[in-house]
């Protein structure tokens, strides 16, 4: 995760570099360290360093890391010629390297020759079955081809071994959601909440999935998780506030006529509505009428 201070630092460096203030190498190092995706900038500033032979040689052995970084950024920007040049330079320097092999397989992938890329990745995995990056690339490859079930299979196989990798769980959850397999997605979000219990986004996504699944039990749980999202974000998450209202009305609808033991719901809903109303008044007062009329219908149904 990128913390807030790191992000501001990065943005400051970026604007400094953009305005010709120097510090390009520091910026590139930071991008690499934080693993953020700023390919256009990386490509631009990285190429400037690489094309200047004096600057390049002053990096020493770090030069090759820069080649790799620029190559990946270039693939992301579809400047395949640049990526190819970088990969060739690395190939010349490290002819036997697996890492360069990975880069070349990625180049094939970027070109869209799926079959060859798949073959290259498989042979890389045969040499080293624990290369997490290659595993993930294969998933991305399957996803790029639109083969979502294949991607799910690969991810499941990967997670069987690397089950503490929360990024993979997240990807799996998103794929499941896109295939409307909500039960499986719920499991993945549970796993994500377990690994990072204080990230409100996972709570929110989990609540969304539970709400979509429906059923009184899931709705009650969804409401709890919307509540936890509100708690974790300090009441700033509009989606969670809406979620509370929707959940409450759905629960009321389902349990109509039944004696409810859940006493806190009217409070929570009215509070959430009040918070939403306040938010609308502050940010978009012209939409307030739409909001109130929309909520009237919600209340009528409840």
């Amino acid at each position: 995760m990128v913390t807030k201070t790191e992000e501001t630092q990065l943005n400051r460096l970026e604007s400094q570099v953009d305005n010709g203030g120097g510090g390009a190498w520091e910026y590139l190092c930071m991008v690499r360290k934080l693993k953020v995706r700023r390919s256009v900038k990386v490509l631009k500033h990285g190429l400037l360093i690489l094309n200047d032979s004096k600057k390049r040689s002053s990096l020493g052995p770090e030069e090759w890391t820069l080649y790799e970084q620029v190559a990946v950024a270039a693939m992301d920007c579809q400047s395949l010629e640049v990526a190819k040049d970088c990969a060739n330079a690395l190939q010349k320097k490290f002819p036997e390297s697996k890492r360069v092999g990975r880069l070349e397989a990625m180049l094939l992938e970027a070109k869209g020759s799926w079959g060859e890329a798949e073959k290259a990745y498989s042979s890389l995995l045969e040499d080293n079955p624990f290369d997490q990056v290659v595993h993930k690339r294969r998933v991305a490859l399957a996803k790029a081809q639109g083969n979502l079930t294949g991607a799910i299979d690969l991810l499941n196989k990967y997670l069987e071994t690397f089950m503490a990798d929360h990024d993979a769980w997240r990807e799996l959850a998103e794929i499941y959601i896109s295939l409307q397999m909500y039960k499986q997605a719920a499991f993945c979000y549970e796993e994500l909440i377990l690994s990072q219990p204080t990230v409100p986004l996972y709570h929110l996504a989990y609540a969304d999935v539970l709400y979509t699944l429906g059923g009184i039990e899931n709705l009650l749980t969804a409401k709890k998780y919307y509540s936890s999202t509100i708690d974790l974000t300090g009441g700033k998450n509009t989606r969670a506030l809406f979620g509370i209202c929707l959940c409450t009305s759905a629960i009321a609808q389902l349990s109509k006529g039944r004696n409810k033991e859940d006493k806190d719901s009217p409070d929570l809903q009215s509070l959430a509505t009040a918070a939403l109303e306040r938010e609308y008044k502050q940010r978009a007062s012209d939409k307030l009428s739409v909001f109130t009329s929309g909520f009237k219908s919600l209340k009528v149904s409840s």
Partner: protein
């Protein structure tokens, strides 16, 4: 008397400095040799998996209150049921990493290589020092020390009358052997300098990988602690706490505190009662 001892400058030129230089060179040489001999270690699938299982189980234990109790119970069963749970270690198996180590020839080979790269140069230099420079005083440290240091600083000289601040050549060798780590970390980079004392410890532990033992221990520990966590879970069920937190938070944000105060009080009491 001790003050009368005057050291020949030739001792400095021919013993003290050469000994230090040789020790440094040997340290560097050994680093490169061990780098050459280090075989590309492919991690064992089982070991990788076990490490990941332990992390996940730890997360489960720590975050047990953040997921619905039904999901927690399903996961707990997956991790620690008696037949095929991930954390369940069959009795008598995996408990003895030492036995497992001997069954793996690769590991024994690695260990031997490690030890060879350490023992051979060490014996050679020790023999060399012993042969050429034994039995005389090589240096004097500029501050006085107590008698206890005699065995450390005057190894090889059996004179009780010499002042302790004089260092014998063999002791100088030992001081170098154990004290050059800082210098190596400067020359070879921080993480590359392998401490001799560390090596010694490793040898006395017979090359046992501490992480490996740790995993086995933690696997069985997690197994127990998950059981404990499930007991706690019944006390702290997820739901009402979250709802209450959200309500109090929204209340503090909102303005209608006075109106809703009594209802919240009632509700929170109800929540606490759950």
């Amino acid at each position: 008397m001790a003050e009368d001892l005057v050291l020949d400058t030739a001792i400095r030129d021919w013993v003290l400095i050469p000994l230090t230089v040789v020790m440094i060179l040997i340290g560097i040489l050994r680093y490169f040799v061990s780098k050459l001999m280090r075989s590309q270690q492919n991690p064992d699938a089982k070991v990788v998996r076990e490490g990941q299982v332990v992390i996940r189980a730890r997360n489960l234990r720590a975050g047990a209150n953040f997921i619905p109790s039904k999901s927690f119970r399903a996961r707990r069963a997956h991790f620690s049921n008696e037949e095929n749970g991930l954390l369940h270690v069959p009795k008598g198996q995996g408990q003895n990493p030492q036995a497992q180590m001997f069954s793996d020839p690769n590991m024994a080979m690695d260990m031997m290589k490690k030890n060879l790269s350490m023992i051979i140069p060490q014996t050679l230099t020790f023999a060399w020092v012993n042969f050429f420079f034994s039995g005389f005083v090589a240096a004097k440290i500029p501050f006085p020390l107590t008698q206890r240091f005699r065995s450390m600083l005057q190894n090889g000289i059996d004179l009780s009358t010499v002042d302790v601040s004089y260092v014998s050549s063999r002791s100088w060798y030992f001081l170098n052997l154990f004290g050059l780590r800082g210098l190596f970390s400067l020359i070879l980079g921080e993480e590359n300098a392998m401490d001799d004392t560390q090596r010694m410890m490793q040898m006395s532990g017979f090359g046992m990988d501490p992480t490996k033992v740790g995993i086995f221990k933690s696997v069985s520990n997690r197994d127990d602690s998950l059981e404990v966590a499930s007991g706690l879970l019944n006390l702290l069920s997820t739901g009402p706490r979250f709802a209450m937190l959200a309500v109090t938070l929204l209340l503090s944000l909102g303005h209608s505190i006075g109106l809703l105060f009594f209802t919240t009080l009632e509700m929170s009491l109800a929540c606490l009662g759950v």
